[in-house]
Symmetry: C2
Subunit: 551 residues, 2 copies
C-alpha cells in the first residue's frame, strides 16, 4: 500500500527569511536547519518552560526545503505510543496505517463504560453494566503537571479536571498493625500525630544540645520555630525538659463534632495515642507518596474518562488510518520496504507494505511475532519483563462516602491485598459513583487475577467493609475488573528492564533494525506513564523524519 508520493512544491511562495532557511536546509541538512531556526528563535518547542528536551513536530513544509517527501509508515499497535507516532508523523503528511488487535484504540488507556465487553485469556467474560455517565479508568488514571500528556491535552482540546491523588479526609487502614474493623484512621489524624511527635523529638534533641555540632545558634532557633508550627507542639517550659515541646494533639487531627454555632466549639477526636503506638501503627509510611515528582498534587484527569486522549488522537489521525481487530502475524524487513502480515477483524490474512514500520507493541508481545529482525532484537525485547497489576471498578447506588464519611475524592491506603481504594474525582454529589476497589501490583495482583471476576468483587468488598462498614456491600450495583497480565494483546501492566539493566543498555531497541523502529513507554524514563509513551514516540518520529529528510 506504498502510496504515491506527494511533492510539496519547492517554488512555494516564501519570505526572504524562509529563502535563507531553505538554503541552509539544502546545504546543511535538516539538523543544520533546525539549529539555525533555534538560533533565530523560530523553532517551536514542546514546552515553553524549556525544562524538557525540545521536540519539533515534523511539518509538511520541511520537505519544501529538501526535495524529499513524506513516506508511508505502518504502525503496530494503537496504544498511546502508536497513536502519538501516527499523529506526529501525520502533521508532515506521512501516510500512516495503525494496526490495532483490540476492538478499541488506546491500549492500556482503557476506559470501561456500560456495554464494554471483554474476554480475558482465561475465558472470563465481563460486560460492564455501569450507569450512564459512570466510567472506570482501568489503566492510567492521573497526569502530573509537568508531563507532556498535559501538552497533548491542550493541543488536542481534551478538557481536564483535578485528579484527587491525596485527601486529608481519606483513611489509612493498617490491619497488620492492629487496626480493627470500623476503626480506620483519617490521613489528617495520622499526619498530625506523626508530625507532632517528630517535631517534639527533634525539638527536645536540639534544645538539649544533641545537635550542636550540626546547628549554629541561629539554626537552632529557626528550627525550633519551624517545629512548633509544623508539629503544633508546645514551647519550652523553663527548667522542665520533659514538659517542653510536647505534642498533645489539636484540631489538625480532625474533630468528633465539627465547630458550629454558639455552644458548638467542636469536640476533640479522642485521646492522642502515645508515641510508641503511633510509630507501631505504620501510618507514616504512606506520607512520602505525595512528595514524588510524578505523584505530587496537583494531578489531573480528562473530563469524562482517560480515553478522551486516544479518542482525540484517533480523531486527529483520521479513523480510516486506524484498523481495529487487526493482529500482526509476521514482520519482514526488506531492503526498500517492510511487509507486515496480519489477521483482520474478519479473520482473513492480509498484508501491508510500507516504507517504514514502527512497532508500538508491548515488547514481550512483539518478541513472539515471527520476524526477520534477528535474535538480538528478541533478546532485548525479552529483557523487558511484563508486570502484574489489577483494578476493580465498583459502581455504587449512592455516594455514601460523601454523605456518610465527608470524603470527596482521594485515596485510602491499606496494608491489605487490595492496597489502594480510589474515590471518584468527578461527579461530586451526583446520584451514583464509582470507587476503584483495589489497585494492586505484583503478588497481590496475581492473587486477584487468579480469581473469577465475581470472586474478585467478593474479596475486595469483604476488605472494604472493614474500612467503610456494610454499605460497601449493600450499596454496590455492579463491578468490572481488569487483570492486565491476562488481557489479550497487552498481557502486562508495564515492562521494566531486568538483570540490572536500564533502558539505556538496550541499544538494539533504541536504534532501528533496518526499516523497523520500536516505541513505547517501556523505551523511556517514565515507564507506566503516558508521558513515557509520548516521549518515546517523539524520539522515533524525530529519527524517522530525519532519516527521510536526509534521504
Amino acid at each position: 500500500m506504498s502510496q504515491p508520493t506527494t511533492h510539496t512544491p519547492l517554488d512555494a511562495p516564501g519570505s526572504s527569511r524562509r529563502g535563507f532557511l531553505r538554503a541552509v536546509g539544502l546545504s546543511g541538512g535538516a539538523g543544520a536547519m533546525f539549529a539555525t531556526m533555534g538560533a533565530l528563535g523560530l523553532a517551536p518547542t514542546a514546552h515553553a518552560a524549556g525544562t524538557e528536551a525540545p521536540f519539533r513536530a515534523p511539518s509538511a513544509s520541511d520537505f519544501s526545503l529538501t526535495g524529499r517527501s513524506a513516506a508511508s509508515v505502518v504502525i503496530l499497535g494503537g496504544g498511546v505510543a502508536g497513536l502519538a507516532t501516527a499523529y506526529e508523523l501525520g502533521k508532515a503528511g506521512y501516510r500512516c496505517t495503525v494496526l490495532e488487535a483490540r476492538d478499541v484504540a488506546g491500549g492500556r488507556n482503557f476506559t470501561v463504560r456500560g456495554g464494554t465487553r471483554q474476554e480475558d485469556l482465561d475465558g472470563n467474560v465481563q460486560t460492564a453494566r455501569f450507569s450512564d455517565g459512570v466510567y472506570f479508568n482501568a489503566g492510567p488514571g492521573r497526569i502530573a503537571q509537568w508531563m507532556n500528556t498535559m501538552d497533548y491535552c491542550r493541543e488536542l482540546g481534551v478538557e481536564l479536571e483535578v485528579f484527587s491523588n491525596t485527601n486529608a479526609s481519606a483513611y489509612i487502614y493498617n490491619e497488620k498493625a492492629g487496626m480493627r474493623p470500623g476503626a480506620p484512621m483519617r490521613y489528617r489524624t495520622a499526619k498530625a500525630d506523626v508530625y507532632g511527635y517528630v517535631s517534639e523529638l527533634l525539638a527536645k534533641a536540639a534544645d538539649q544540645g544533641a545537635l550542636d555540632a550540626r546547628l549554629t545558634a541561629d539554626d537552632k532557633e529557626r528550627l525550633l520555630e519551624f517545629l512548633r508550627d509544623f508539629g503544633d507542639i508546645g514551647g519550652r517550659v523553663a527548667g522542665d525538659p520533659a514538659a517542653s515541646w510536647r505534642y498533645t494533639g489539636g484540631q489538625r487531627r480532625g474533630l468528633a463534632a465539627d465547630p458550629g454555632g454558639v455552644g458548638e466549639p467542636g469536640t476533640p477526636l479522642g485521646p492522642v495515642p502515645d508515641l510508641s503506638t503511633v510509630l507501631a501503627s505504620g501510618v507514616g509510611r504512606y506520607f512520602s507518596f505525595e512528595f514524588g515528582y510524578d505523584q505530587a498534587m496537583l494531578m489531573f484527569q480528562p473530563v469524562g474518562g482517560m480515553d478522551a486522549i486516544p479518542r482525540a488522537l484517533a480523531r486527529a489521525i483520521g479513523g480510516r488510518r486506524i484498523q481495529l481487530g487487526c493482529a500482526v502475524t509476521r514482520v519482514t524487513d526488506r531492503a526498500t520496504d517492510v511487509v507486515v502480515e496480519y489477521r483482520d477483524a474478519g479473520g482473513r490474512t492480509r498484508s501491508i507494505t510500507a516504507d517504514y514500520c514502527v512497532s508500538a507493541l508491548p515488547p514481550h508481545i512483539m518478541a513472539r511475532i515471527p520476524h526477520n529482525l534477528g535474535g538480538e532484537v528478541n533478546t532485548a525485547l525479552n529483557a523487558l519483563r511484563p508486570s502484574s497489576a489489577g483494578k476493580i471498578g465498583l459502581e455504587y447506588r449512592s455516594r455514601w462516602w460523601e454523605t456518610d464519611h465527608d470524603i470527596y475524592g482521594g485515596i485510602t491506603e491499606t496494608d491489605m491485598d487490595l492496597a489502594h481504594i480510589w474515590y471518584p474525582s468527578n461527579g461530586f454529589h451526583s446520584r451514583r459513583g464509582l470507587i476503584v476497589g483495589y489497585y494492586n501490583t505484583g503478588a497481590n495482583a496475581d492473587a486477584y487475577t487468579a480469581l473469577s471476576p465475581a470472586d474478585r468483587e467478593k474479596r475486595a468488598v469483604a476488605q472494604g467493609v472493614k474500612i467503610h462498614g456494610e454499605k460497601y456491600r449493600t450499596e454496590l450495583a455492579h463491578s468490572f475488573s481488569i487483570a492486565w497480565r491476562r488481557t489479550p494483546y497487552l498481557e502486562s501492566a508495564w515492562n521494566y528492564p531486568t538483570g540490572g539493566q536500564t533502558i539505556e543498555d538496550l541499544t538494539q531497541l533504541t536504534e532501528p533494525t533496518g526499516r523497523v523502529y520500536f516505541t513505547g513507554d517501556w523505551l523511556s524514563h517514565a515507564v507506566a506513564w503516558q508521558h513515557g509513551s509520548f516521549s518515546s514516540a517523539r524520539q522515533v518520529v524525530t529519527r524517522l523524519h530525519s532519516r527521510v529528510m536526509a534521504g
Copy 2:
C-alpha cells in the same frame, strides 16, 4: 405586611405512627416530639456521619401536630446567613421577607463578572471588563469537605469542583529572606529540602542515643525507617556518624529537565542548599497551612463562581421575597410584632411589620441602625471588631502560568505585602484566566485599600513580576479589586470578638431581644466561613421555630 396565617389542617391523612407522634407533640411539646422521633430513627439529621450537632429543618407538617402556624419574619441582610434563615424557615411555610441594601444578594459571597459595577465608600468606581466565562470570587473562595456548605450545595444542586488550595508546583517567594527576582522556589523543592534536613537531624540524634530516654529500641528502628522514607535520606554508614542519614537532594525537589525517552533520564535541579540556608529561607513556615482542619486538601468550589450558592438559595426562597436596594433605617421591637423601616431602591421610606425579625447584618453595621433593643445589645455588637482584607482579580490574555510554569492551580506564598497569589482552579487550558494577585489582611490590606484601584493593580503587578517575570505585566488584560472595609453595607471582611472574649460570652446576641434575633458567621465558631453563617442561621431557625411551635 403581617400576612394572613395559613393553617396546616390538623385532620390531614396520616399513618398510625404519625398519629402517635401527633399525640406526643400535643402533650409534650416540640422537644419531646423530636426526641421521640430520634428514638424511632425518624428524625433526619443534617449529617449522616453524626459528627455535627443535628439540625432538623422546620417543616409545614410540624404545625399539624400543634395547632400553631408559621409566622411572618423580616430578615435584615441577604448574605448567606440571612438567605439561609429565609430558606430554612420557608420550608415550614414561614412568610419571610429579606431586605438587602446592595443590588445583589449574597453579601460577602460576591462574584465579579464582566459588567459588575461597584462604588466604594471612598468614591472609587470600578466596572469589571472581564471576558465571558471569567469570574473573580471577591469573597469566600473555598469549602472544606466537612463543612455544611457542602450539604447545602448538595441539597440545592450547586455543582462542585476541586479548589486547588495547595500545589507542589506553585512557588514560595521570600524576598525578605533574600530570594532574588526571577528565582522563586517551587513548593516541592522547599518541602524536599526541609523534610530532608529535618529527617537527617532527627535520625542522627536518635541513632546517637540522644533520645533513648524517650524511645524504646523498637521505637527507634521504626522512627529511622520512617525518616529514611519521609526525608529521602541515606542510611547508616557504619563507623561514620557524620556520613550517616544524610540528605543530599533527589527527584522530589523537581528537575531542571524532565525525564523523557532514551538518553533523557532527567536533569537534577542544581545544588542542594545547605542546612543553614534552608532554615534561614523561611520556606517551612508555609507548610502547616495545609494541615489545618479548615484548609487541608481536598477543598471545593462551585462550578462557575461562588455566588452559585446565594443564587440557588434565592431561587429556592423565591425572588419576590428578597428586596434588593433596601437599606434598613430603624428597627422597633414591640409587644406583638416588629416594625422595620427602610429606604427602598427608589429612595422612598417604607416600613414592614412582621411577627419576628432576624438581623443578619454585620454586627458593627447593625449597631449603627437606630433601634429600641437597648444599649447592652449595642455594646455586644460593637465588641465584634471589623477586619480588613482585600483581593485583586487579574485577568490575563493567556494562561502563561500553565504553559510557561507548569502551574495548574494552587497558591504561591510570599512574604511581600500581596501575601498570596491564587492560580485559577478552573478553565485549565482555556484561552484566558484570572489570577488572584493579592489576598491579604490587616495592615497589608489597609495599605492596598488606601490606593486607587489602578494603583493597587500597579503595586500587585510590580511584585508579581518578581516571581513570574514580565508576562505578569504584559499579558494583563483587566483587573478588579475589593477592599472589604470600604465596601458599602458590609465594611468588613469578618468580625471577631475583642477584649479576650469569645462568642460564648456575648449572650446578648445569642438570645433574642424581644422578637429580634441575630445571626451571622460572627455568631459561630467558624468565623469568615460560610459554614459559620449556615451554622448560626440553623440555630436561629431552630430557636425561632421552637418558640412559634411552643406558642
